[in-house]
């Protein structure tokens, strides 16, 4: 029983976009530098010929996992309800797509499919036979703003009842006794401060350059978590809604909320945007917006066994810049793993 480290290849999306890394390179980086073995992929980014890849690809995938001694953990599938263009995808059709993903995950050796946030329980129910037969689980992602504890006030996102989606799925698991349905919580639901990349992007584009400079100075004085409210106090009405939004932050769950659902948690998304050096601790890094520390403590306290897969997402905010200013994804993931190794106590 242990907390293990993994990487979602999503983290290297920019390297892949520019043709500098493919799945072989990512696997090698995990083996040679990160010294971890849990692999998560976005099916629609990694699998050529998706959703019907060639036998050659499947053999090469298995071989790559074997070469670098890696374990396929989660295959992330999507749910695009407008795909048929002449009607909105219904729940029965969504279950058929999920079955396709389960078969693909099985063929590639994954233990579970990361299904869409807020997956309605009846979609999971319709795909359950396939999941049981193939021994591949359906784990949907708990992503901001979906809470772990029910909050019916949350509406209008992902599905008909996002505010109670976790509870609906827990009820379904208890009713059926299945071990093939559960969750992948995203670290972003436990946020504790705004993301630095969003702040930098906003400061870069603010029309009032003087105000941007003042905010930059203020950022050095107040805790990151309080920057938004402090700006509201000092500069009321001076920022657009979108600008102000970058300095504020939201969470929708506490790490302790996990306890109730831990038996059904298949893996975590180790979301991070900005891995920065901890002041006074050279070579040690933290993500000031995320609460990895408390989450990992809860997992240790409850002897949870599974993977936290790094999901580095800090590249997008810099893509208005030239190539020389883009973020180094490889370095950011390495920093995230320095932090995880330390917090896990490897």
């Amino acid at each position: 029983m242990a907390i293990k480290r993994g990487v979602s290849f999503y983290s290297y999306q920019q390297e892949q976009f520019f043709g500098r890394m493919d799945y072989h390179d990512m696997a090698k980086e995990m083996h040679d530098n990160l010294k971890c073995d849990g692999v998560e992929i976005i099916s629609e980014a990694t699998v050529p010929g998706y959703p019907f890849p060639s036998k050659e690809f499947l053999a090469d995938w298995a071989n790559t996992m074997a070469r670098y001694d890696l374990k396929p953990v989660a295959l992330d599938g999507f749910l695009d309800p407008l795909r048929f263009r002449d009607h909105v995808m219904n729940h029965r059709e969504a279950a058929e797509l999920l079955k396709l993903e389960l078969k693909l995950a099985h063929d590639m050796g994954f233990t579970h499919v990361r299904a869409m946030t807020g997956l309605p329980a009846d979609v999971a129910e319709r795909a359950l036979d396939t999941a049981e037969k193939l021994n591949v689980a359906i784990a949907w992602e708990i992503h901001l703003p979906i809470p772990i504890k029910p909050n019916p006030a949350i509406k209008g996102l992902f599905c008909e009842s996002p505010g109670t989606a976790v509870q609906d799925t827990v009820d379904f698991i208890k009713k059926t006794g299945t071990t093939k349905v559960g969750f992948i919580p995203d670290m972003g639901i436990f946020n504790k401060a705004p993301y630095i990349d969003g702040i930098e992007r906003t400061l870069r584009h603010m029309e009032d350059k003087g105000l941007a400079e003042d905010i930059r100075a203020l950022w050095k004085e107040v805790p990151l978590s309080e920057l938004g409210t402090e700006i509201d106090k000092r500069y009321p009405g001076k920022l657009t809604q979108a600008e102000a939004g970058a300095f504020h932050w939201k969470k929708c769950a506490d790490p302790e909320d996990l306890v109730e659902i831990l038996p059904y948690v298949f893996s975590f998304h180790g979301k991070c945007h900005d891995m920065v050096e901890i002041p006074g601790k050279p070579g040690q890094y933290e993500e000031p917006a995320e609460d990895f520390e408390k989450v990992i403590q809860v997992l240790k306290d409850h002897n949870w066994d599974g993977y936290i897969c790094t999901e580095f997402e800090g590249q997008r905010a810099w893509q208005d810049m030239g190539r020389e200013n883009l973020v180094d994804e490889v370095e950011q993931v390495r920093r995230n793993h320095e932090m995880m190794r330390r917090l896990i106590g490897e």
Binding site: Y10, Q13, Q16, F17, F18, G19, D22, I42, E44, A45, T46, P48, G49, Y50, P51, F78, L79, D80, P81, L82, R83, F84, R85, D86, H87, V88, M116, T117, G118, L119, G156, L157, F158, C159, E160, R316, Q319, D320
Partner: protein, 147 residues
């Protein structure tokens, strides 16, 4: 996302006397089912080239209209593949520098959204295909050259 990098460098050129063409990468972190590609907002030197003047070449098949692309519900545009966008413009563009405005219109999203039925019945044009989750929010401008 990736707006600035969606057009493949050096790919913008005339297509004989029929018009012009250039290669595009999906502006996202994943590929998508082809039918989700609604088309593009395309503008050169202030002149707009609407959907009817566009064809899309991908997966080794001849260029298709976006009405045909909308029917490709089991075909996928893979993340690693560039597609070629052909624009009907008799005579082609003049030699020299041009200003290209481009916005990808893709109906990619995360699960069901309140706008779903409306977007099926009255699908917005690429420039208006903007939601909280769409990866392109505005037209991006490129300096290109016909050699």
């Amino acid at each position: 996302m990736f707006d600035k990098y969606m057009v493949k460098e050096g790919s913008f050129q005339n297509n004989g006397q029929d018009g012009f063409k250039f290669q595009v990468h999906v502006g996202d972190y994943r590929g998508c089912f082809l039918s989700l590609v609604r088309g593009y907002y395309v503008e050169v030197d202030g002149v707009e080239y609407p959907l009817e003047k566009q064809k899309f070449e991908i997966n080794g098949k001849p260029p298709r209209t976006f009405d045909e692309i909308a029917k490709a519900v089991w075909e996928h545009w893979d993340f690693d593949d560039y597609a070629t966008l052909y624009i009907d413009c008799p005579g082609g563009l003049s030699k020299g520098p041009h200003r290209l405005g481009l916005m990808q219109g893709a109906m990619v999203q995360y699960g069901w959204q309140p706008h779903d039925q409306e977007w099926i019945e009255n699908t917005p044009l690429p420039k208006d295909l903007v939601g909280e989750q769409t990866k392109q929010k505005e037209v991006y401008y490129f300096d290109v050259e016909i050699k």
